[in-house]
């Protein structure tokens, strides 16, 4: 066991630091930091995407983009450990990776596993540069946690498929050029076996994107309506009716990316607790506040060191296991608790965000984000199922959907 970089890692860290010092958009660092907890400090979303894209392109031009990808895909062929070192050094700007998280973190590994060589050469370098953003059309109004229950139909037509249905919770669909969708190609077999993964241009005829207003009042997610959208055969990933295993690859990468990268809010609550109130008293001088801070700090360390344990295992040749779900499960719940505690400390000041009140701004966002984060990318309940079944080996639930998909019970029509 040891805590230090090897000489090679230390040299790599030094080079990363030099690059960031020289090339990062330091004039925008305050804005970038305020992006934590999905805040929106930019007047216009387009400004955020433009700044993010500029930083991505600079990283790419200097050989610092998508470090773990193979070189022929636009990456650098480095190890996950070097990737983490770069992320640590990039901390102040890491939120500028937001527009590319889905494309680079979830979609690209799926393309690497299932797309043709020619398609990988066509799409991956553009994703690495940040030129092209993709979105992931998985969930539907009737299929969220029960993702294999998607009902968007793909009908066979000459040279491909026609899609008809509705997707929901699609992050970034309004600025994505391409999208990957899980659709039903056969309703006569068990539900997991009748699914196919396809991809398409988001400006294809028949696609309508509508924003979903979240509890925060902002719209990060969308509904996507697919009305007779044509997808050529060449844009099927992993084979017809093989879509479930493709989706599992995407989901595993999603949980790892989210679990390893999301801040919990410990720095924010610590800072707030150190600020004296109007009477000059600091919350941190109260024992009850100190106990909570210690508990959250302990969880935060546990999640961060858990990532390091996973990296140690990967470096020794193991593949990441379902234990990665622990980070998101614990972190999301802690964030929600921290947000409520921060708002408690702010008292009446929390009732509205006054201009320039950074603390109220931050904890409002965290309050909304904590709720959302426990649901997105696998709910708490799904995470617990994953841990119970895949790590502890406990039996699966008894279920009522084991027959052909068209016979699976659905809610009775409203009276």
């Amino acid at each position: 066991m040891n805590l230090h970089d090897t000489p090679e890692q230390a040299a790599f860290r030094e080079r990363a630091r030099d690059f960031i010092r020289e090339h990062a958009p330091w004039d925008q660092v305050q804005q970038a930091r305020r992006l934590r907890f999905a805040g929106k400090p930019f007047a216009d979303e387009a400004d955020w995407i433009a700044l993010s894209r500029r930083w991505q392109q600079i990283k790419h031009a200097h050989g610092w983009a998508c470090l773990v990808w193979p070189r022929e895909c636009g990456g650098q062929g480095l190890s996950p450990i070097e990737n983490v070192i770069f992320q640590q050094e990039e901390q102040d700007f890491v939120e500028l990776n937001g527009p590319f998280m889905i494309s680079q973190g979830f979609i690209a590994p799926t393309l690497m596993s299932f797309a043709s060589e020619a398609q990988q050469r066509e799409f991956l370098p553009a994703i690495a540069r940040g030129d092209t953003v993709w979105c992931q059309m998985f969930s539907e109004p009737g299929a969220g946690s029960d993702l294999a229950g998607v009902r968007t139909r793909a009908e066979r037509v000459a040279g491909g498929w026609t899609l008809k249905g509705q997707k929901v919770w699609t992050s970034g669909a309004h600025y994505a050029a391409w999208g990957m969708a899980l659709v039903r190609t056969d309703a006569d077999v068990v539900k997991h076996k009748g699914l196919t993964m396809v991809f398409m241009k988001m400006d294809s005829p028949g696609i309508t994107v509508r924003p979903i207003e979240e509890l925060s009042g902002h719209a990060h997610f969308n509904e996507v309506f697919l009305d007779e959208v044509f997808v050529p055969d060449a844009q099927v990933l992993g084979g017809v009716n093989q879509g479930w295993s493709v989706a599992l690859t995407t989901l595993m990468n999603e949980r790892m990316t989210i679990g390893a990268s999301t801040p919990m809010g410990i720095e924010e609550i610590f800072e707030l607790a150190m600020q004296p109130d109007a009477d000059g008293r600091r919350p941190i001088d109260s024992e009850s506040v100190r106990m909570k801070l210690a508990e959250w700090h302990t969880k935060d360390c546990g999640i961060r060191y858990g990532v390091q344990r996973m990296l140690t295992a990967i470096a020794a040749g193991a593949s990441p296991g379902p234990e990665a779900s622990v980070g998101k499960l614990v972190g999301a719940n802690a964030t929600q608790e921290i947000a409520a505690f921060g708002l408690d400390l702010l008292g009446n000041r929390a009732l509205a965000q006054a201009d320039g009140d950074d603390a109220a701004y931050c904890f409002h966002w965290m309050f909304h984000f904590g709720a959302l984060h426990r649901v997105e990318g696998g709910t708490d309940e799904i995470m617990r199922n994953v841990l119970a079944e895949r790590v502890l080996g406990l039996p699966a639930e008894h279920r009522a959907d084991k027959g052909p998909f068209r016979d699976v019970p659905t809610a009775p029509p409203a009276a």
Partner: protein, 376 residues
């Protein structure tokens, strides 16, 4: 950063596991309850003969000096198997503490006896004294003094015969090696919280003690002792938590109700998933602590506190949920579930309460932020 134990360290751990499985928590309870022993002495003697009591003792004092990483793994294994012996207190806690001091005479006198099992040591915190004890003047010829006072009940007190403790504050602080008189045990076994670690209290009336360090040096040494012992205890708690989860899982797979294994009910699966999550957090924090202990002592105080807090939480959660998942049988004397439940509680307050470690952590974090702000 590398947060995994080596193959070699794990192989040594596996050897230790084999020796420990020659007894059990139940056998220890019989030794204490029916045979009136202070602990599972037959197992203790086997460990002495096989050299495991010298794991934290240098070779010159008759030990095998297996290193901190192995001591961490040994403590975890003690947690898993839960034998009725004060291994972590004496072999990890006391021996490692005494070895840190600049006290060759005391080390030569006591460490060989730790390694051969004839002496069992404890580390006493301020909370363990019923009032601050009184100290005579120190005889500079042989660093001896006398001490008068009384301890509260001490976990593993029934089997201990020597202790290390810090008395006094600031320049009056003294780190003492204190031979223990016969302790006063509380009568019936069913009146003790942790059945496998019988407590005792001690009275001292001008009892002889040896001063190992004074003033700042004593306090600095004491801090290092606490961090190490806290980390070993955290590993013991981690092992206890893991064993409780495995016991719960195994039972839930064999017990049927409503025509199915109870482990297939989501209520129980989610309870066990939460146990697993708590264990994973504790394990990551413990491993980081073990790495800090060997590689970067500056990071050890925070790491040890964090490991201790997380492991206390994990063991308590797992012990009580294991009992719950066992249902009726879990709350009987016959089940081992209560042995873990009791031990999780007694370990939570041994060597500082959860509140003590949380307060210690927050002080370190505030100091850390202060120094970071000054540097910036």
């Amino acid at each position: 950063m590398n947060l995994a134990f080596s193959e070699e360290e794990l192989a040594i751990r596996d050897e230790f596991r084999r020796v420990l499985t020659s007894s059990s928590a139940r056998a220890g309870l019989v030794a204490i309850q029916a045979q009136q022993l202070s602990c599972d002495l037959p197992l203790w003697q086997r460990l002495a003969q096989t050299g495991w009591l010298g794991a934290g003792v240098a070779e010159e004092h008759g030990g095998s000096a297996l290193g901190n990483a192995v001591l961490c793994l040994a403590a975890e294994e003690i947690g898993r198997q839960s034998p009725a012996i004060p291994y972590v207190a004496s072999v990890c806690g006391f021996a490692v503490a005494l070895a840190l001091a600049d006290a060759p005479r005391a080390q030569a006198q006591w460490l060989p006896r730790i390694a051969d099992g004839s002496v069992l040591g404890l580390v006493l915190m301020a909370q363990d004294w019923s009032a601050p004890p009184l100290l005579s003047g120190i005889d500079s010829a042989d660093d001896s003094c006398t001490l008068s006072g009384a301890t509260r009940l001490l976990r593993d007190g029934a089997s201990a015969s020597v202790a290390l403790t810090l008395i006094g504050e600031a320049e009056r602080a003294a780190l003492l090696l204190l031979p223990l008189p016969a302790g006063e045990r509380i009568g019936a076994i069913d009146k003790t919280l942790d059945l496998l670690h019988p407590p005792a209290a001690f009275r001292f009336d001008a009892a002889p003690a040896e001063v190992l360090a004074t003033g700042d040096a004593a306090i600095r040494l004491w801090e290092r002792v606490l961090d190490r012992y806290a980390l070993f205890t955290a590993f013991e708690q981690l092992g206890g938590a893991q064993a409780a989860l495995e016991m719960a899982r195994d039972y839930s797979l064999t017990r049927y109700a409503f025509g199915r294994a109870i482990g297939s009910f989501q209520a129980l699966k989610h309870s066990m998933a939460d146990m697993l999550a708590a264990i994973e957090l504790a394990r990551s924090n413990c491993y980081f602590g073990a790495a800090a202990l060997d590689d970067d002592e500056a990071q050890l105080p925070e790491a040890a506190a964090v490991a201790r807090i997380a492991a206390t939480d994990a063991f308590r959660l797992c012990a009580k949920q294991n009992m719950q998942i066992h249902g009726g049988i879990g709350v009987t004397w016959e089940s081992d579930a209560h042995l873990a439940y009791r031990r999780a509680q007694s370990l939570a307050t041994a060597l500082g309460t959860p509140g003590f470690w949380k307060e210690r952590l927050v002080r370190l974090l505030i100091a850390h932020r202060g120094s970071a702000a000054r540097a910036a």
